[in-house]
């Protein structure tokens, strides 16, 4: 029985992956990731300035990541309501939670994989060691931002159930949260992707290189813990709410 349940989940995940791979969205993500991560000038005078380039070079990636997440997640969740796919899939013996979890995991893994692989090209481009901790810290920053952005995008998509509206709404909301939290400052900066990236990079730079490689400020353990915990806790809370809504209360018409 458990084996059958497992195979149903795998089949749903495979359908989702096939739909994702066969759609032109894959090309869109590759282009967006390459443009935002790899386009930067080699403005360095010292060999040690590679860390500056690793930090300042791909700083636009969070903007493109938000656009990508808005398009991919909204298209998948809202689009499947619009096209009647959810109704059709639920007419088979497929449980709602499997549909929700399979969609979320497949899209999350696919987007993260593309951004992580393209970001890892910086190991070669900047002649860094493959074990360079700041590369993996940057990947953690991408992971956390993708987690919060994807839960927000899915929340809007599931509640609105309209592809175009949810794409636009999640884009505006993600940009709004990012720029507003960076401008206001204080504890809200933990919601800003670029500020969080700065804290992570600075703190782990202090640990591994002896000093913050990007600024003179000292990043404390409290700051770094909050900058990870705040977005992760919000995302988990939102995800649990969405899971409950999708599996118990949502009406499919």
């Amino acid at each position: 029985m458990a084996k059958k349940q497992h195979s149903v989940f795998r089949t749903v995940a495979k359908w989702e992956l096939q739909e994702y791979v066969n759609s032109p969205v894959l090309e869109f993500i590759i282009i967006a990731a390459m443009a935002s991560i790899l386009i930067y000038g080699m403005q360095s005078s010292s060999f040690l300035d590679q860390y500056h380039m690793l930090y300042y070079g791909p700083k636009n990636m969070f903007l493109f990541l938000s656009i990508t997440v808005s398009v991919v997640f909204s298209r998948s969740f809202s689009g499947s309501f619009n096209r009647g796919e959810v109704k059709m899939l639920l007419s088979y013996p497929i449980e709602r939670w499997k549909l929700f979890v399979a969609k979320y995991i497949v899209l999350f893994a696919a987007v993260f994989l593309i951004f992580a692989i393209i970001f890892s090209c910086n190991i070669y481009l900047l002649s860094l060691s493959i074990f360079e901790p700041l590369v993996y810290v940057s990947l953690l920053a991408i992971f956390v931002q993708l987690f919060i952005a994807s839960t927000i995008a899915v929340a809007i998509a599931v509640l609105v159930k309209n592809e175009v509206v949810s794409v636009l709404a999640s884009m505006l909301l993600l940009f709004g949260i990012d720029s507003f939290s960076a401008d206001i400052g204080g504890s809200l900066t933990f919601l800003s992707a670029s500020e969080r990236f700065g804290y992570l990079f600075g703190y782990f730079g202090q640990l591994t290189k002896g000093a913050n490689p990007i600024s003179a400020d000292i990043v404390t353990v409290d700051t770094i813990s909050l900058s990870i915990l705040v977005p992760v806790c919000i995302s988990i809370f939102l995800l649990i709410f969405l899971y409950m809504y999708f599996t118990r209360f949502m009406e499919v018409d």
């Binding site: 443009a35 386009i39 080699m42 005078s45 010292s46 060999f47 300035d49």
Partner: protein, 174 residues
Amino acid sequence: MKKLTRLSLVLFVIGISLLAVTLVRGNTSFSFTRLFMQNFGSSEWELGFNAFFAPPRILRMVVNLSSPVDIYVLTGNEVRLWKSSGTIDAIGVFQGVERSTITLQLPDRGEYNVLIHNLSNSSVAGEVKLMLYGLESDLLYTSIGLSIVGIILFVGTQIMSWHKAKQNSPKKLA
């Protein structure tokens, strides 16, 4: 067949995107470091700059000095070799340079430095400016390679499917 066509399109998109990235990255030419020399003693050897990171682009050195010097462009390993044993195995050797512009295609991505030797009996003063320009050759070749592989795969799959369709056509069946 469909999977192969899809793969060819994705490869082509990766290649073209990388080509665009290479063109934009190569569009910047800037003076990224300069060395001011004052009273550089006679017959002295000196590493001109801090070790710098450079991609495989064209390195242009604008030299403006009061007396001729020998200039050696060294990789990180070559600098270490020179420091340990005094052996010079440089990727670029320019002898008797006083006032000129030197260009050198850097072979790889990595650490470089410039070693200067004062040939004259008098001290030297002046400036050496380093600039990078041109496209990053490794990225350029990779992007062109990926695009070509994508195109070949695409054309190949189209020819194969055309052959299949021809073989299965009603005329043949009849």
